[in-house]
């Protein structure tokens, strides 16, 4: 428990390497509710990849009965992000997109698996 607390409070920059071209951009955490079936990840990652929009971190797990999943994406907020989010929202399998500040703890707690 105490371990979790410390990792959650560590600044994310310790876990995510600074990419020079992204200097000056904030990190943002996106939370996506999606239909849970094979292929959803391809649809979403393809949108980012095609635009050379790097996704720094990805987490995905089923929720509830398993008919939907939640995907957490860690990205840098550059000027294209709002447009990207609109494209993601358009995907048939995406139910909602929430944008959180980069300090959102979901990635920070994974610290121990990336030592």
């Amino acid at each position: 428990m105490s371990e979790q607390n410390t990792s959650a409070t560590k600044p994310l920059s310790e876990f995510i390497p600074e990419v020079p071209e992204h200097n000056g951009f904030h990190k943002v955490v996106l939370e996506l509710g999606v239909a849970n079936h094979p292929g959803v990840m391809s649809h979403i990652c393809g949108l980012f990849a095609r635009r050379a929009f790097n996704v720094e971190g990805i987490l995905c797990m089923p929720v509830g009965t398993g008919s939907t999943s939640r995907i957490w994406l860690l990205v840098f907020e550059d000027q294209r992000l709002e447009k990207m989010i609109k494209q993601v929202e358009k995907l048939e399998d995406v139910l909602y997109v929430n944008k959180h500040a980069g300090e959102h703890p979901v990635f920070g707690r994974l610290d121990e698996f990336f030592q």
Binding site: P38, G39, S42, H43, G46, R50, E82, K83, K86, Q87, E89, K90, L91, E92, D93
Partner: protein, 554 residues
């Protein structure tokens, strides 16, 4: 309780969506679907000579009917041959269902014979796609595919069906409901009021219509808006016909090959009202210099188009027809005498030059000669190249869905199979495909399909023995170094047409080409009308790629 195979269920579900014609090519992994089709009394299957032809025939039907139409192919090469037509439908927002056979589920991922990852291949070129894993899922997938294809911004949907799923027995109590489009998103009336205020306050407004106006069936409302508020109106390639070309407020097409005055009027605009268009680079030229002094109202059903290329001052995400019907009663009638007379004087000084318009052996003259033989009920398609731009500039389009064109993808080979599809969807109309010698060769095999179906399609072939638009660009922008854009050997298109069982007429030796043309256009059935065009004829004006629209050449 009903019991049938997955393939039979697919056919039943298509029938319930009132599908009457399917274009396709069979193959091993699609054979159960073909077997089920053999028992359908409602569905006529058009056997194409190439799957790309099938895709464009389905598109031609959909562009005329405005509802999803279906193409069918086998796995592997069948599916990859469909890819171009699917991508084309995506970029032009055409509702289409592509059905593909796939290797059996247990063999997926083994590099089985004729296996390709059709699902993966088509993710970025479909609005949505499905790989069906059990026959029971078809009860949801097929209606969902139709709903997605026709709701909001339309687009192509692919359903990949493994052969064992086609053969699997499925039992169920009831068929799913026939699907209709989802209700369009609701929009903010305050934004509509804001738009009305901007229109009222503007001194030099321009209305800019795109293909969304056609998809939404809103052309009449757009014209009413223009008339009510005295808005000079320009159209994208996709919107031609939304306002009749001869309407006093029409500025014709904008952009790379728009008339000089059209681009000049846009440059002076203080308000741009963009309806169902998406600021495509061929239409707007260099983004920063497009309508530099204008505020922008942008209306589109696709929220992601708003602020995508140009920031809008008022952005409304909604069906353009619904938004216009709220906007119309809020817009005050105005005469705008000064602005309209200024537009008129620009038109007088910088009109679209149409050299040779009286000579049916020249590009503009041939287009006018064809138009003179037809009325507004005719459907016009084109391929991609100089001939396409000449037709877009000069043909007197006067109604929605009169003009079918590959706008976004610009696919050579679109015109002829799309014309066959149009004729299948509207058998009582004359369908004319303006084509180029390069483009026609890309789907020339469908001449056999046209002859088989005896469709009323006339190809008007502009034969300049070259990839004319490429030749033009090399001449203008690459120091006249002509590379791979001239065909060294002539092709005897008349023989080819006849070889496929299609009538062929040559205007070149005809003493009276107008009479020959009229006879060919008014005789029912498919016909190739051949005309030699000077390869040194260029399309003017032309905005160099990447330049501002004000930097037109010619």
């Amino acid at each position: 309780m009903m019991q049938m195979t997955g393939a039979e269920l697919i056919v039943k579900l298509l029938e319930r969506q009132d599908i009457r014609t399917i274009a396709g090519v069979p193959g091993g992994a699609a054979l159960p679907m073909y077997d089920a089709l053999s028992k359908s009394e409602q569905i006529h299957h058009v056997l194409c000579r190439h799957e790309q032809g099938a895709g464009f025939i389905a598109q031609g039907m959909a562009r005329v009917s405005g509802r999803p139409e279906v193409c069918l192919a086998s796995s592997g090469p069948g599916a990859t041959n469909l890819v171009t037509a699917i991508a084309d439908a995506k970029l032009d927002s055409i509702p289409m269902i592509a059905l593909t056979g796939q290797v059996p589920l247990s063999m997926i991922g083994t590099d089985a014979f004729q296996e390709v990852d059709t699902y993966g291949l088509t993710i970025p070129i479909t609005k949505h796609n499905f790989l069906v894993r059990s026959a029971k899922d078809l009860l949801d997938v097929v209606p969902a595919a139709f709903r997605i294809a026709m709701s909001d911004r339309p687009g192509p949907v692919l359903i990949d069906v493994p052969k064992d799923v086609q053969n699997q027995m499925v039992s169920f109590e009831e068929y799913p409901d026939v699907v209709v489009p989802d209700a369009a998103p609701s929009f903010d009336i305050a934004a509509v009021e804001e738009a009305a205020k901007l229109i009222e306050a503007a001194e030099r407004p321009v209305l800019y219509l795109g293909g969304g106006v056609i998809h939404s069936g809103a052309a009449h409302m757009a014209v009413t808006l223009a008339e009510q508020a005295s808005l000079p109106t320009t159209m994208t390639l996709m919107a031609l016909g939304a306002m009749p070309m001869d309407h006093p407020l029409s500025l014709g097409m904008l952009g790379m090959h728009g008339a000089r005055y059209t681009n000049y009027v846009l440059e002076e605009a203080d308000l741009l009202i963009c309806v169902g268009a998406r600021f495509d680079d061929r239409a707007i030229g260099k983004t920063a210099e497009f309508c530099p002094n204008a505020r922008i109202i942008h209306i589109d059903i696709d929220r992601s188009e708003l602020h995508k290329v140009k920031d809008a001052h008022v952005a409304i995400a909604g069906d353009v027809g619904q938004v216009l019907s709220e906007l119309l009663p809020r817009v005050k009638p105005q005469l705008r005498k000064r602005w309209l007379s200024h537009v008129e004087s620009l038109k007088g000084r910088f009109p679209l030059a149409m050299p040779g318009v009286d000579n049916p052996r020249s590009p503009y003259g041939l287009i006018h000669a064809v138009a003179n033989c037809l009325d507004d009920s005719a459907i016009i398609t084109s391929d991609v190249g100089q001939h396409q731009m000449w037709v877009a500039q000069a043909y007197p389009f006067r109604r929605s869905r009169q003009w079918l064109n590959s706008g976004g993808l610009g696919t050579m080979g679109f015109g002829f199979p799309a014309a066959i599809g149009a004729a299948l969807a509207a058998p009582d109309r004359t369908v004319v495909c303006f084509s180029g010698d390069g483009s026609l060769k890309m789907n020339i095999q469908e001449m056999a399909t046209a002859a088989q179906e005896d469709v009323n399609v006339k190809i008007v072939l502009f034969n300049n023995q070259s990839l004319g638009l490429v030749h033009q660009q090399q001449s203008m922008f690459y120091g006249k170094r002509i590379m791979a854009s001239r065909y060294e050997r002539p092709t005897d298109f008349l023989k080819i047409a006849e070889g496929f069982g299609m009538r062929a007429v040559d205007l070149d030796p005809a003493p009276n080409p107008r009479a020959t043309l009229a006879e060919a256009l008014t005789t029912p059935g498919p016909c190739l009308i051949h005309a030699t065009i000077d390869p040194n004829e260029f399309v003017y004006p032309m905005v160099p790629p990447g330049a501002a629209n004000s930097e037109m050449i010619g």
